[in-house]
Symmetry: C2
Subunit: 118 residues, 2 copies
Amino acid sequence: MPTQTSDPDRIALLQGTLDMLILRTLATGPAHGQGIARLIQQQSEDTFLVDHGSLYLALQRLEEKDLLTAEWGTSANNRRARFYALTPAGREELLTRTTQWHKLARAIGLILNPEPAS
Amino acid sequence: MPTQTSDPDRIALLQGTLDMLILRTLATGPAHGQGIARLIQQQSEDTFLVDHGSLYLALQRLEEKDLLTAEWGTSANNRRARFYALTPAGREELLTRTTQWHKLARAIGLILNPEPAS
């Protein structure tokens, strides 16, 4: 359970899901780690709080798989930071995972809210 | 990954999700293991194929937590089988997990398909 807090309103993200959300966040342009975490938190309306450790492990894992590249740069508040960018393989992977996610969510929805038998 | 086949169209279910789907299946009435697996497969339109081992481990886990009860009975094709039924605690747990699932799915949806910035 990489991303978890004691706040019961927040939800733990499983590894594969975190990877997908990182890839999605980078699809709109490069970002540094803290920026990625902030975007995920903001866009999920504070449902997901990504902890530092899980995030960097995930970024490392994705970089090793050539799904993203990392380069040193300067952040908006003038600190040196690694900026991550999606590779073409990363974009492909995002598409695959997104498709799989929609399929999973749809199938779970079918079970949770089945059509009434007619 | 408890439920998985080599068919890429099928999706692996994580443990917590499988538990939720079992509880949901039993919400409409008691069923034996094979019946639960069949219902999950049918209602998910063959997206989820629950393997025997994962299913019985999950049923055991849920029974130990008093979320369901098990009783010997006779199946439609006249075999002895354990019939599982939801307990009040199981019904409560289903509600909690379903709420959490919808929240998770919604938050992921917000990130995958963000509102265009205006």
